[in-house]
C-alpha cells in the first residue's frame, strides 16, 4: 500500500512537472546609437509610476540594479531613491519626463543639470511593466480525520513577467534604445497526501535576462541589438 501511495505521488508529480511547470521567454533588444558608459559615468534604474493599473515592482528595480552593479563590467549604479530626492520634484510620478524632449526641457531649468551632473549618471533606464497572474486552474482538497490528514488534487497557475527597459542618454539627449522582455512561467502543485509545489519564477528570469542584456547594451558600442543595422 505504501509503495502504491508513493508510486502514485511520484507518477503524478512527474506528470505534472512534464506537463505543466515550464517557462517561455523572449528578449528583444534594440539599440540605435553607439553610446556606451565611459569612466566615471553611471546609470540609474527608475520605475515608471504614472500608470493607474500597474507599475514595475520595487523588488524588480532592485534586482536589475543589483544585477548591473555586480556584473563583470562593474557598472556604477546610482541609488534610485537618492536620485529622485536629489532631483525632487522632477522625477515624481506626475512630473517625471515622459520623453527625451521633456528631459531636455527639464535640464534647462535652473539647477537641474548641475544636480544631474553631480550624480555622475549618464544613462537613465526606465522600467515599465509588471508581473501578473494571467491564468490559473485546478483544485486541491484537504481533509483531516482521526487517522490523519492529507490533500488530493492538482492546481496550476501561469505568471507573465513583461517589462520594457528604455535607455535614455543624458549626455547626448536621446533615447539609446529599448529592451523588451516577456517571460511566461507555469507553476504546478500536485497533491497526493502532501502538496508538492513546482514553482516557475518568470520575474526572476526576466530580471536575469534583462540585466544581462542591459550590461551588454551599456558597454558594447556596436554590433548589438536587432535594430543596430538600421541606423547609419
Amino acid at each position: 500500500m505504501r509503495l502504491s501511495w508513493s508510486g502514485s505521488l511520484l507518477g503524478l508529480s512527474a506528470a505534472a512537472v512534464l506537463a505543466g511547470c515550464s517557462t517561455t521567454s523572449r528578449l528583444e533588444p534594440y539599440k540605435q546609437t553607439d553610446a556606451v558608459l565611459e569612466d566615471g559615468e553611471g546609470v540609474v534604474i527608475l520605475a515608471r509610476r504614472h500608470h493607474a493599473t500597474h507599475e514595475a515592482e520595487q523588488e524588480f528595480v532592485d534586482c536589475i540594479s543589483d544585477a548591473l552593479a555586480s556584473s563583470k563590467q562593474e557598472i556604477v549604479v546610482h541609488d534610485s531613491d537618492e536620485f529622485q530626492d536629489m532631483l525632487y520634484p522632477w522625477f515624481e510620478p506626475s512630473t517625471a519626463p515622459l520623453n527625451v524632449a521633456d528631459l531636455s526641457e527639464l535640464l534647462d531649468r535652473p539647477g537641474v543639470a548641475e544636480r544631474v551632473s553631480a550624480t555622475g549618471v549618464r544613462f537613465v533606464v526606465w522600467l515599465d511593466g509588471s508581473t501578473d497572474r494571467v491564468a490559473s486552474g485546478g483544485s486541491i482538497t484537504c481533509a483531516a480525520g482521526i487517522g490523519g490528514a492529507g490533500c488530493m488534487g492538482l492546481a496550476w497557475w501561469e505568471d507573465d513577467a513583461r517589462y520594457d527597459a528604455s535607455v535614455w542618454d543624458i549626455d547626448q539627449l536621446n533615447e539609446s534604445g529599448t529592451i523588451h522582455a516577456d517571460v511566461r512561467g507555469r507553476s504546478v502543485m500536485p497533491a497526493v497526501v502532501v502538496p508538492l509545489p513546482f514553482i516557475s519564477r518568470p520575474q526572476a528570469k526576466a530580471c536575469r535576462g534583462l540585466g544581462e542584456q542591459l550590461e551588454t547594451f551599456l558597454t558594447t558600442p556596436s554590433g548589438y541589438g536587432a535594430g543596430i543595422g538600421d541606423v547609419g
Binding site: E57, Q58, E59, M86, L87, Y88, P89, E92, S94, R109
Partner: protein, 205 residues
Amino acid sequence: MKWSSLLFSAGAAAQAGVLAGCASAVVVESEFPTPVVESLPLNVGLYYEPELKDFIHAEALPRSSTWTIDLGDANLAMLEPLYEAMFVGTLEVATLPPSASDAANIDAILSSALNRFEFDVPATSRDQFVEVWLEYRLELRDPGGNVLIDWLVPGYGKAEIDGSRESAVHRAAIVAMREAGAKISTEFLSQPAVRDWLDEKFNEG
C-alpha cells in the same frame, strides 16, 4: 470552577487578541527633500492650521480593521523645506491675521491645511496596491488679509503590498505627500491669480 475560570480567561484573552489584531496604527515619518526650484523674490509668512500639525485620520474599513494614520509631523516635514526653497524668505506666523510686527516684514501670508485624506487597503489578497488620496488647501493672502488664491492641491500615492499593510500605507502616504509637494512647488507660479498679483506687485515696485 477552576475550568470555568480558565475558559473565561481564555475567552477574554482571545477577545483581546481579536480586538488588538483589528487595529492598525501608522505614524507617517519621513525626511522630505528640498526641491530644486527657483526661489520667488518674496518674503512669505507661513501659517499652518493647528489641525494640520496634529492630523490623525481614524477610520474603520469594511471587512478590514480600524486604522489610525498620524500625519501631523510629516506634514510639516514636507511643507517647511518646500516653502523655504520656493520663497527667498519665510517666517512662520502663529496667528491669522499675523501680528503687526510680523505683517510688516512679509509680502504675503500662505496658510496651509489638510483638507481631505482618504485611503484604501485591499480586502483580498489578489489586489496588490494600497492607495492614498489627500488634498491640501493653500490660501495666499496679501498683508491686508485679502485672499489672493484659494488653491486645492491633490496628491495621490500607491504602494505595493510586499510586507505588512501598515508599511504599504506608510509608503503610499509618503508618495501622495511628495506628489502634492511636487504640484505646489512646480505649479504655484502658474496659478493665474498668483501671476496677476506678482505682475501687479513688481510693476508697482
